[in-house]
Symmetry: C2
Subunit: 398 residues, 2 copies
């Protein structure tokens, strides 16, 4: 038999042209102080590398329940439908849209940065009649502006970004939930850059749909998208006329796997779930109060330090996100060259601006595992000692 | 400042009810001989646990190119658009549908198991006029049956499963690509349980769209969905009237990130890509000929051994998948009890039947890292020595 197979083997006519020869690799040491991913906690990386088990294994089923429960704590919600989508934060974002939007419904999107625009794009793809209100990048919406728009458009869904990763703005949420109930709109909120790092209360704020990511406040690598859906959104899903036009993200199917039935939907990314379970455990061990306070204290230190170096922060202090700070690139500085220098010489990643802020700001994240006094001191020291070399006249002189 | 924050901290009114106390965990030792996930190669798990880098880091950009090139080799294709989707195999499956189906087009699905039905479901969600041809679970389609259906329905897309994970059938592919070109249909193929383990030639077989997974023949944990799209499908995408109705899986957007522009789309699951890069490297090191031959030899040993124990295999030998074997549960055996016994007493996962084969077969996978002589001997030994205890009369007697 073995002989016969050996003969057959020569019949395989394999094209070797893409057979690239590679060696095992090591990764360069990076301190990720951009808009995300942030560095992962070492215990999370250890959990990630445990041998996989089956997605219907009793051990895994128990772990799923732990992930859900710990996620409810992190998000401060009792929502039954709280689970990590098997994709990145963008998949969870699309899940909130795909499961709630029905064709021709009015969806009102409050745009004050890049991720508001993405919500607009996605809602359009699901057939919504999308209306928008806009603010300049770096500002937040006032409650009366939101009220006026809800009155005008009477949307089925109102979508807004809590922590706008492109601008560093934290949208004040007080009163928005009540307004949405008054106008019979579902409240859909992006919490990508707030979960785990910034005060966030899904139930208290009357949020009906929210999504986040694994790689920022949770100190886990990217690859899972926490998702939560409250009773009002669940009811809308149950009453919808057609199927959810997205199979992978269809919560009515996913619920049969994550709920008590454990009906196979797709093969879960088990190792990523090992990772997020550990990340959520570490967050619960620290406690939300402590984690939020730590982020706030370190951000405040960073802001004070940057301002004392004469740098300008793009967002007014009352609206600043503790997890992500936008720093205006001084007019005489080559911002990109400085970022490249930090990456190449110090292994530190700093983010650039997106969209309206492209070329105008650096984005500096202090998220999860990376929100430490040491990191604040390190980056402030580099801004103090090395930024001057990137002023235009200095570059020209060197 | 620190005092002020401390005071503020007491203002957080945190609900502690979901603050589950958990310990760090270890996983039970499992030999995964079901339909997948299969065990991962230890080097892949090591790669998975490396610290993440940014998704636009020059190091990561280079790694992406390696993943793409190695995937082209594994799939035997020159397709430019060859990349892992940031979700599981089901996400990649949906990506082939979402990017190719336009509303009201005829999509013909050849159904001979569970995954054909899923293709039918997905195509319907994207507005296709879905037609189907069917064979009993455990059979394959003959070329003339496919020809007759193509003639009758003249579909825009013909979808078929190469390696049907629910039945253990390997669909002969000779001539299907030529027929699809003759009838101007795109050929969309499920290669979830064939990639890396079974002869598979995307270009030679004239396949226009294919998808797979990371957790079977590639010996990587689940979480990425290899995807490839040939020039004919790319042209259809370029000419489509509306936007792709799925943002996360929109290849026209993804191509700007994976192509030369590197425009941010979503934050890539960098650690999963570390893992698949290592998995694909190990496959290239072994060589496709050797990997395919190894799977075939070990499967043949398993089949011979099972038959010599008097067990019946569900699929005729000429159509059997080397990666996944369906074994008929003898009439006098409690199949579920035997699977549970293997899991609980020996840490071995065996799959049950799905759909039409529910309760009728076990599904036994020998995939990637798990396709070894030792595993064959181990499982044959357990079938020989322990299965007799699960015959109804024995159970009753004990």
């Amino acid at each position: 038999m073995s002989m016969a197979l050996q003969t057959k083997q020569t019949l395989f006519d394999i094209d070797q042209s893409h057979k690239k020869t590679c060696n095992p690799f090591s990764v360069p040491k990076r301190l990720l102080l951009g808009p995300g991913p942030s560095n992962s906690h070492p215990d999370v990386l250890k959990a990630l590398s445990l041998p996989p088990v089956g997605h219907l294994d009793p051990f895994y089923i128990e772990l799923m329940a732990e992930v859900q429960e710990l996620l409810r704590y992190a998000w401060q919600t009792n929502n039954r439908l709280t689970l990590p989508m098997s994709g990145t934060g963008s998949a969870a974002m699309e899940a909130t849209i795909a499961n709630s939007v029905e064709p021709n419904e009015i969806v009102l999107v409050a745009k004050k940065g890049y991720f508001g625009s993405r919500l607009e794009d996605m809602a359009g793809r699901y057939g919504a009649n999308v209306k928008t209100i806009e603010k300049p990048w770096g500002h937040a919406f006032a409650l009366d502006e939101i009220q006026a728009a809800l009155e005008m458009y009477k949307p089925s869904i109102f979508a807004i970004v809590h922590a706008e990763t492109s601008t560093g703005v934290c949208q004040p949420m007080d009163g928005i939930g009540d307004l949405c109930r008054k106008f019979d709109s579902l409240l859909l909120v992006d919490t990508v850059t707030s979960l785990g790092g910034v005060p966030l209360f899904i139930d208290k704020w009357k949020i009906d749909l929210a999504y986040s990511c694994s790689q920022k406040g949770l100190s886990c690598p990217p690859g899972l998208g926490p998702f939560t859906m409250g009773p009002r959104a669940e009811e809308k899903l149950a009453l919808r006329k057609g199927q959810v036009p997205n199979w992978y993200l269809d919560v009515s199917l996913l619920n049969k796997y994550w709920g008590s039935d454990r009906v196979y939907h797709h093969t879960a990314p088990v190792n990523m779930n090992f990772g997020i379970r550990e990340a959520l455990r570490l967050l619960a061990n620290e406690g939300l109060e402590q984690a939020w306070t730590r982020h706030k204290i370190n951000a405040q230190r960073l802001w004070n330090g940057l301002e004392s170096l004469g740098l300008e922060l793009h967002v007014s202090e009352d609206l600043r996100l503790p997890t992500l700070t936008t720093i205006r690139i001084p007019a005489d500085v080559d911002g990109k060259a400085f970022s490249l220098h930090l990456l190449n010489e110090h292994g530190i990643e700093l983010g650039g601006g997106l969209g309206d802020l492209s070329g105008k700001v650096w984005r500096l994240g202090l998220m999860g595992y990376n929100s430490t006094l040491d990191n604040v001191n390190l980056i402030l020291n580099l801004f103090e000692t090395e930024l001057p070399r990137f002023k235009n006249n200095s570059v020209a002189a060197s």
